[in-house]
Symmetry: C2
Subunit: 405 residues, 2 copies
């Protein structure tokens, strides 16, 4: 059984502590550095951006994970992405890891590094190392929420949660997480950073499989603007401090429960990123069913979710089903226009590819809400997929036209 | 030699006439129907939207062109796309063609049909047929500009031009064109309608080859919002009334001259569509060179041109080269981040993947102009491509959030 904790966070699981510091990397008068530390070595799994242009910390972490060791901590800074910063940037990523290892007396190569912010600006390494030293003295299980705030960039609110999972054998494990996102959000890991912690004991290979399985239905099913960034990283760490026996089989009852809990945490964080999408005024759930395959259903759903014309219509609560049908049409998914059925907010607006007579005002009212649901049935097969996105507002333009000024 | 005519239009070539009418399809007090007629049978070539959801007129025209006959006229209405209108829509497209054939005493299957406007609204066939009858009585070589105005939807200005081509043998041919576009513009024929006329004599197969060759470097190299519509059509018609001998070989000096003239007309119209992109405040030329192939260069250039983050940064004249590099990174084109060179308005801002120290203010000033040029050199090969787009402004959102209201 899964219980969502009120105000749960990345240090809700046993044996996890966090700390923050204000380094003055880009923002004044706010924390911009976060440390998340496990009291004991934790197994870890991570996925990274698919962008050919990868930030220095991503390259550092990829090498780190390739060594297959266990982790003790992750250090995250906001305000500077440490991307397109050349060899100095590579050195800065290493310096951040070393600084944490030194300050906390951790072994070499036990610290994961994440950066988010502006691309192409040299890292103020001294400031960051100073912040790491400060943070290292303030570790506490209570600083999870502060950590979630410290990693924000254009985010307007922190994103964190935690659930407890009651295992069949009576043990209880806790899974917590935090994330940041906003712009440049797109499947295959966009500008999103996410850290998930648990006190479950999960061998690395099992943790990796679980993460990839959950990734597909959470972070890889959201889009805000179709851009894919240089820094995206999802890190999942398990330190086993719950005392529950190791989860070695995801098909076992314990494994299934763990997967359900991990899915709950990752979907909550993915949705929180969309809800906080730059300029977003509506949270939009798009389900395509009846496609020839799951892949084609997702193709069609993502085409709808990415269409600026659909997203601006949603901002205006305009029941413009034509743009939705149009997006399905160019998605590449197999579609017979004469079979498609479309629903806006549960109201059927199109059947057999033909618009049904519906009250424009009523439809407008149905769409003029914070949570919009669009459903399409292609009537061709069993393929189904759900993705989440937000609308495209004046503020999206304002935020991104003014991002650095 | 190619000469651009001042205020040239679709009836500038010899033997072409146009007429317009106000049918009241959607807009009040404006012409919304255009006829373009050749005095004699014309060879024709056309390409259509790649969207799986095709409007009734597109399906009608595809069948018409498959018959391989010659055309005498094209009829175009604005305000209703006649898409997702079922069998009534199919009948409406046929009715439009028949009405023109009857009114002008033309043979069956000699009239091409185009519609643009809102999707999924029944066609007011009677109004349109009445308009066709009126227009048929007003044909004149002077009504080309009026025709370009009549086919506008969210366009803010008419788009038409013409060039004369002095052939080596002393003859002169004229090529004219008009187009409408605005939103839903994307390669592979988006919501764009374009009609190109010429008094050159060009066998159908040659005309078709010429059109496809020119298409790639004109209409298929522009994007506004990445959406691909249900109605896009490019029609090229040649009636031979210039008296110049038929162009049977595109590699001949006459063929080369014709191709150059056709390219000039199609590029002018394609650029005019981008300049009039919904809410556009800047015309952006993006060139990617040094790619492994032309295809990869175009992939990278289009990724830059489509990125909402790049487009909003351009609106703000923000020299945010990081977003450009990022788009190249996820474009799918082969890229070595450590080799990339980027230029904004001719100013080198990135070399070997590293930002060069440049004056933000100066760069901002360079970008704060109506015509922006972005260049990238991937330093990997000989592949080069240029595409055109516009920025993403508040007005894009306003226009599309309010489109139907």
């Amino acid at each position: 059984m899964i219980t969502v904790l009120a105000d749960g966070h990345v240090t809700s699981p046993r044996g996890w502590q966090a700390a923050v510091a204000a380094c003055g990397i880009k923002y004044a008068h706010r924390d911009d550095l976060a440390l998340v530390v496990s009291d004991v070595p934790a197994t870890a799994a991570a996925v990274f951006t698919t962008n050919a242009v990868k930030a220095a910390p991503v390259l550092y972490d990829m090498a780190l994970m390739a060594q297959g060791g266990e982790l003790r901590a992750v250090v995250i800074n906001a305000g500077n992405a440490n991307a397109c910063t050349g060899t100095d940037g590579d050195a800065a990523a290493v310096a951040m890891a070393r600084a944490v290892e030194t300050a906390l007396g951790l072994p070499m190569n036990s610290v994961f590094v994440m950066s988010t912010g502006t691309i192409g600006v040299p890292m103020p390494v001294e400031k960051i190392v100073r912040g790491i030293d400060e943070a290292a003295r303030r570790l506490s299980p209570d600083h999870g929420p502060a950590a979630a705030r410290a990693i924000m960039t254009t985010d307007t609110r922190p994103k964190h949660c935690a659930v407890t999972v009651a295992l069949p054998d009576g043990h209880t494990i806790t899974i917590g997480g935090m994330a940041k996102g906003a712009g440049m959000i797109h499947p295959n890991m966009a500008t999103m950073l996410a850290v998930v912690t648990t006190d479950a004991a999960v061998p690395r290979a099992v943790l990796d499989t679980a993460m990839r399985q959950v990734l597909e239905v959470s972070f890889n099913s959201i889009t805000i603007d179709g851009d894919t960034s240089t820094n995206d990283t999802l890190l999942v760490m398990a330190n086993g401090m719950s005392g529950a026996p190791p989860i070695t089989d995801l098909t076992s009852s314990a494994g299934t429960a763990f997967l359900a809990g991990l899915t709950a945490v990752c979907q909550y964080l993915a949705h929180a990123i969309v809800r906080d999408g730059e300029g977003a005024t509506r949270f939009v759930t798009i389900t395509v069913r009846g496609a020839r395959s799951h892949a084609e259903a997702k193709q069609a759903a993502m085409a709808i979710a990415r269409s600026p014309l659909v997203k601006t219509a949603l901002f205006g609560a305009d029941p413009n089903w034509g743009r939705v049908l149009c997006a399905i049409g160019y998605s590449g998914a197999t579609v017979d226009p004469n079979r498609v059925v479309l629903y806006f907010g549960g109201m059927r607006v199109l059947e057999n590819g033909l618009p049904l007579p519906f009250d424009e005002r009523a439809a407008h009212t149905l769409l003029d809400v914070p949570e919009v649901i669009i459903e399409a049935d292609l009537k061709l097969g069993e393929g189904e997929a759900t993705v989440w996105t937000c609308d495209f507002s004046y503020d999206y333009v304002r935020i991104n036209a003014e991002y650095r000024t």
